[in-house]
């Protein structure tokens, strides 16, 4: 194994990890805040991906304006869904959460198949993104560098939002104790809606960025369900830094093993999941849920 190959695979894995972070962070927050097990969270990412395809290929918007539009649109969809349906589920049992969200994931996949067909979708990246970028000892593309940058920016924004603003303090209070938070006048229900929308928006952004790296087809929500749940489980619930480190770790580990030991490839990821849950049932961050 040469160093250049290792670096290339490493960058590939980091980019994958950043996408995982963007897609899963909403799930981590909603699970920690509302105790809502949302197996359909990947549907927001898929929705963002298809919106991106429509905006770029049919409406001929530029890459960046499409990204912004996707972020806002999936956020709005998440917000509406939370206010109309999902808020009625919080009092119900985990069984009902799983039933509802599996149903939602099925519906999303079926709608995607009916509208776009079962094939993979593609978008035309701007020129500077698809051209190679050379570093001493390695070569990558502008697209991968952009994903890395987007992930780091999203991390800093989310971290600032959750740890430096009143909104974030309220959310953290509600994660720790919902009853106490609402008894001191924090509008918990509105927080739920906003954070759900925010999570959906980031998932949509992740899905839109992922098209040229992970692909996009109607099976997306189920294909990435397990690894998204793993990010949440390893990161600990509602922990931004925990989710970030878990996503980067999983992305890099997955890429390295799939590239160097393809025979055990996807095995390693599932084995890691089981081992994590046995030895670190509360996640890497160790935060109580």
């Amino acid at each position: 194994m040469n160093l250049q190959g290792l670096l290339n695979v490493g960058v590939e894995g980091l980019a994958y990890g950043m996408l995982l972070f963007l897609i899963s962070i909403g799930l981590s927050i909603t699970l920690g805040l509302m105790r809502f097990i949302n197996l359909a969270h990947g549907a927001f990412a898929m929705c963002g991906g298809y919106l991106m395809v429509v905006l770029m290929n049919d409406a001929h918007l530029s890459f960046f304006s499409s990204l912004v539009a996707v972020f806002l649109a999936t956020g709005a969809i998440g917000l509406v869904l939370e206010r109309t349906l999902i808020k009625r589920l919080y009092g119900k049992s985990e069984l009902q959460h799983v039933l509802f969200s599996i149903g939602l994931a099925f519906v999303a996949s079926a709608i995607a198949t009916i509208l776009f067909g079962p094939q993979q979708q593609a978008i035309g990246l701007p020129g500077w993104m698809s051209s190679p970028v050379d570093f001493p000892g390695m070569r990558t593309t502008g697209y991968r560098l952009f994903i890395l940058a987007a992930g780091v920016i999203a991390l800093s924004l989310l971290y600032a939002l959750f740890h430096k603003t009143l909104f974030g303090a309220r959310v953290r209070a509600a994660v720790d104790s919902q009853d106490t938070a609402s008894s001191i006048g924090i509008p918990v229900s509105r927080l739920f809606a906003l954070t759900f929308g925010l999570g959906a928006a980031f998932a949509g952004l992740g899905g839109a960025l992922a098209i040229s790296l992970l692909g996009l087809d109607p099976s997306f929500p189920l294909k990435y369900l397990v690894i998204m749940l793993m990010v949440v489980a390893m990161g600990g619930s509602a922990s931004i830094l925990g989710a970030f480190s878990a996503a980067l770790f999983l992305g890099t580990a997955d890429a390295l093993f799939k590239y160097y030991i393809p025979e055990v490839g996807s095995f390693v990821i599932y084995a890691l999941l089981v081992l994590t849950l046995i030895f670190l049932p509360k996640g890497l961050a160790g935060r109580r849920s």
Binding site: I37, G91, Q96, V98, I102, G103, F106, V107, A110, L273
Partner: protein, 327 residues
């Protein structure tokens, strides 16, 4: 207890009557009915786990698939007697369930969902990679199944398979009924309703859950073995996520914790899936998704809880406001 006994007598007679009527009326659909009986057995095994012990699992197809592959692999190596391979499949599934149980029963519902999902994909990948044993993505179809007890040969019309699977369903029905009406079954219900109190009265919570997991796994293995024997084919989808999700869905729609409800749920689900999938798989997905989302609001206790839900509606309380029981 007496009510439950009356319940099973009635329900068993009903199952047999329906099976007999189907045999006479729709002789062209014996294959589908065989599948329904086997899927109902699988659903009953899952109901024992989720409806009674309260353990959510999205990887129950592991045991179904293990049972099926046990039959196929034994069949390719010369062990072809169906009752023997059936017993072997139960043992293999039960032993694997026993090995997994300590990991599955710890933690909360979310952890259990993840662990079972993880195990499910792990076994799927293992079966996929171990192609020399399992045939990989092509599956196995070249194994032989001898006549049952040397007397009843599996025929092309599927008559033997049909009666065999009905017998399997009746047996499973009886086993699950027997377990759930025993003191152990009461302990499981207690766990489901209020785990903390079960700890408080000194019940061995973890052991009860582990035992339920092993029993449920063994019965699922039996169902998988029967599918392999009657269809003479095993493939990866017998242990994939799709099958785990299916059994979860049909049990919940039928009404978890109700044996007749689950059998009805499995039969209706399999029949509708067969009918809709032949039109187009995407409409099947859309239909089942919408039904699932609606069911959470209009049928919180499944079809078996319909009467209860109706009463609540009439009393002017929307079922969707029902709060979950405190743990």
């Amino acid at each position: 207890m007496n009510r439950l006994k009356g319940d099973i007598r009635l329900a068993l007679a009903l199952v047999l009557a329906i099976a007999g009527a189907c045999y006479v009326l729709f002789p062209g659909y014996l294959g589908l009915m065989t599948t329904i009986c086997i899927v109902a057995m699988f659903a009953l095994s899952y109901d024992l786990l989720q409806g009674y012990a309260g353990i959510l699992s999205l990887g129950h197809a592991i045991f179904f698939g293990l049972g099926a592959y046990t039959v196929a692999i034994l069949g390719t190596h010369g062990v072809t007697e169906p009752l023997l391979t059936l017993a072997a499949a139960m043992v293999v599934a039960g032993v694997v369930a026993g090995v997994l149980a300590p990991v599955v029963v710890i933690g909360n519902d979310f952890n259990r969902l993840l662990v079972t999902l993880g195990f499910g994909f792990l076994f799927y990948e293992a079966a996929n990679k171990a192609g020399s044993w399992t045939g990989g993505a092509d599956g196995l179809s070249s194994f032989t199944v001898s006549p049952i007890a040397g007397l009843f040969e599996f025929d092309f019309e599927g008559k033997t398979a049909f009666f065999y699977s009905v017998a399997g369903l009746v047996l499973t029905y009886f086993i699950v009924w027997r377990i759930t009406t025993s003191p152990f079954g009461s302990a499981l219900r207690g766990l489901r309703e209020n785990t903390l109190r079960m700890y408080a009265i000194g019940a061995p919570v973890t052991r009860h859950r582990a035992v339920a997991y092993v029993m449920s796994g063994a019965i699922a293995g039996m169902a998988g073995a029967m599918l392999a024997q009657t269809s003479n084919f095993v493939s990866l989808d017998m242990l994939g996520f799709g099958r785990s999700a299916d059994v979860f869905i049909m049990t919940a729609l039928g009404g978890t914790g109700s044996i007749p409800g689950v059998v009805f749920g499995a039969a209706a689900f399999t029949w509708i899936k067969d009918a809709l999938s032949s039109i187009s798989p995407k409409y099947w997905e859309l239909g089942v998704g919408i039904i699932l989302m609606l069911s959470v609001f209009v049928l919180p206790d499944g079809v078996a809880g319909l009467a209860k839900t109706m009463r609540r509606w009439r009393a002017g309380r929307c079922p969707s406001t029902r709060s979950k029981p405190t743990n």
